[in-house]
């Protein structure tokens, strides 16, 4: 269910100021995994005692609805407390996983009232049916395809491959990674003499890679469901380095200047590194003379 901007016909904890105190995540949800499954842990600060009593008496339960569009997965997990430990087999989910945490009625409640209702609801009583919400705790998303431990690596969202039918390099954005496709001869040169050579990395980043990244970002909207786009979105949404760009909604406005700044930030100042490399090469050449 889409909770944001929703107005219920009765007061719901966590929606506006219908009921207080508003619940919140105690800390950021944690994700761990073993070979077979993921474990998602989330805990909430929920201090409304009337609702707490309804849960204890079996009229309501803490529920987490989990959806994974890629695998048509949609399930509910329950808890008797505002702490969830949700274990899901790895082979049941893929891509972005959405979690929605609520306190849901499981047995009919007649004449529901709560001393913490907003002024507007004081004196009113409500009959609630199974499935109705007593509280909305929060939402969370996690992308199981993103390699979170390798985010800062350019390789997490870009690759260089061979384009055997090409006569000039081309970019392909419709793959999990931004694909820089090189004609065969060029690709052979890249593989044999350039790839893995630290002297050339900064030059490649400031030319081929930066070009491809800017072109991809300017077309971000058309490819927002690809893994590379989700990876970049995650970095922009969560890393302090991108705070300013985040404030300017860079991935929504796609303003050219902002995109160029974003690309350079993602590649950690490629022009600066290029100039340093060129200077070093110049020094080395002078020494050889």
């Amino acid at each position: 269910m889409k909770i944001s901007n929703l107005s219920f016909p009765y007061p719901v904890l966590g929606i506006g100021d219908d009921v207080s105190p508003k619940p919140s995540f105690l800390r950021s949800p944690e994700v761990t995994s073993d070979k077979a499954s993921y474990k998602f842990t989330a805990e909430f600060d929920m201090r409304n005692s009337s609702i707490h009593r309804l849960v204890k008496r079996g009229y309501a339960m803490y529920i987490c609805e989990v959806t994974s569009i890629n695998t048509l997965y949609r399930k509910c997990f329950t808890s008797q407390s505002p702490k969830f430990e949700i274990v899901i087999p790895k082979n049941h989910i893929g891509g972005r996983i959405n979690f929605q945490f609520t306190i849901t009625v499981i047995s009919p409640i007649s004449h529901y009232t709560n001393p913490e209702f907003h002024e507007d609801y004081k004196g009113f009583e409500f009959d609630l049916e199974p499935g109705d919400l007593l509280g909305f705790l929060g939402e969370y998303s996690y992308d199981v395809d993103i390699k979170y431990d390798k985010l800062k690596s350019v390789g997490s969202f870009m690759q260089i491959t061979e384009g055997p039918t090409l006569s000039i390099p081309r970019f392909n954005f419709d793959n999990p990674k931004i694909d820089i496709q090189l004609p065969t001869a060029m690709y052979q040169q890249y593989k044999e003499s350039i790839m893995g050579n630290p002297s050339f990395a900064n030059i490649i980043h400031s030319s081929l890679v930066l070009n491809a990244l800017v072109a991809a970002m300017l077309n971000f909207n058309n490819f927002e469901n690809t893994l590379w786009a989700r990876t970049i979105q995650y970095r922009v949404d969560t890393e302090a380095t991108f705070a300013d760009l985040r404030a300017r909604n860079v991935l929504e406005t796609l303003e050219t200047d902002d995109i160029i700044e974003l690309a350079q930030t993602l590649l950690s100042n490629p022009y600066g590194r290029l100039f340093n490399t060129l200077l070093l090469m110049g020094d080395a050449s002078d020494n050889n003379d």
């Binding site: 959806t67 695998t71 048509l72 509910c76 329950t78 893929g94 499935g131 055997p164």
Partner: protein, 349 residues
């Protein structure tokens, strides 16, 4: 018989069940080719069997054969019927212990060729030409024997085909089933003849409809409308794991018994149908109400989807079991029966 050069030598070797070297040796002994080594060069009397041709699919010039060349070679080798050739080639796949699939990039290239129309004519062939070096093994899935024989390519038998496919791939996890490359592989290799006969417009002489190929061999409209993935997911979403034997599939059978759009659009494509309890509750209600389903079925099932969509806006439906959905539909039955036209549906809710 077509003059077009559409068969690679690999197609011919598969058709006659010989290796390339064995075939070339035989053709050399019969005087068809002039040399055992080097490029394929036909002697004068056989020049109209094949020639170097630009292959649209592989994007390079290779030696290609026409219908005459293929048929004459088959006669030479001694295999006369297309049917036995097809079965022989199908059994070649079933010799493998592990299930195979395509590399993702190769599946994407097949999609590109279908989109630009360059491979459309290939969907009319007995066997779709593929590059074997782009096949991978899936270590965790056993290859099922004889599946092609259990799948009957007609809409009336979609249920039986779906159950056969689902049971053949019992080990398939949802994550593996979400892998498009796997279904593209099956649709172009082991189950190619099934898909081709089930969606046989490709066999019309004037067929030139890329979208048709994209709809059934690929995922133009999502997994539920793919010729094979759609069957598997429809069973997955409706099978009752709490029941035994044939009873497991009673809701699936109903899902397949009506308008195909029931399982591809009206119900199965709605997010709520991912909740198994909702799916079973709704299907049970429909199964038991012959009168309600006898007329305006399409409009009434769409009404049901709309109703629960609206209800789900303020209620946590995924927390509710099949009895809720069944009982709720019983409660609103008069409203459902009142839907007797598109106009009624449009004006409802």
């Amino acid at each position: 018989m077509s003059e077009e050069y559409i068969y690679t030598t690999a197609d011919i070797t598969r058709a006659v069940n010989l290796s390339y070297i064995q075939l070339k040796k035989l053709l050399f002994e019969k005087g068809v080719v002039s040399s055992l080594t080097g490029e394929m060069t036909l002697n004068d009397d056989y020049k109209d069997w094949g020639k170097p041709t630009f292959n649209q699919f592989m994007k390079k010039i290779i030696f290609m054969w026409n219908d005459k060349g293929r048929n004459e070679i088959i006669k030479i080798v001694g295999i006369n019927s297309n049917e036995s050739t097809k079965k022989k080639n199908q059994s070649t796949f079933s010799n493998m212990q592990l299930q195979q699939t395509f590399k993702t990039k190769y599946a994407d290239s097949l999609l590109d060729c279908a989109k630009n129309g360059s491979s459309i004519s290939l969907y009319a062939l007995d066997i779709f030409p593929i590059e074997k070096e782009n096949i991978l093994y899936i270590p965790s899935i056993r290859h099922p024997e004889g599946l092609i024989d259990k799948m009957i390519p007609s809409i009336e038998h979609d249920f039986e085909s779906a159950v056969a496919l689902y049971e053949a791939y019992q080990d398939l996890s949802p994550l593996q089933a979400a892998d498009k490359s796997f279904w593209v592989y099956l649709a172009h290799t082991e189950l190619f003849s099934y898909v081709q006969q089930r969606f046989n417009s490709v066999l019309d002489p004037d067929f030139n409809n890329s979208q048709y190929v994209l709809d059934h061999w690929f995922f133009a409209h999502g997994p539920l409308r793919h010729a094979l993935a759609g069957l598997w997911w429809a069973v997955f979403l409706s099978v009752d794991e709490n029941a035994d034997g044939e009873e497991r599939y009673k809701y699936t059978k109903f899902l397949f018994s009506r308008d195909i759009n029931l399982r591809t659009i009206y119900l199965a494509n709605y997010p709520l149908f991912r909740h198994k309890e909702a799916a079973i509750g709704i299907l049970r209600f429909l199964m038991e109400d012959e009168e309600l389903c006898s007329v305006f079925f399409r409009q009434r099932t769409r009404y049901i989807s709309k109703y629960f969509n609206k209800l789900g806006g303020t209620r946590q439906l995924v927390s509710l079991d099949r009895n809720f959905f069944y009982t709720e539909l019983k409660k609103i039955r008069p409203q459902i029966i009142a839907i007797q036209s598109e106009e009624d549906l449009k004006n409802s809710i």
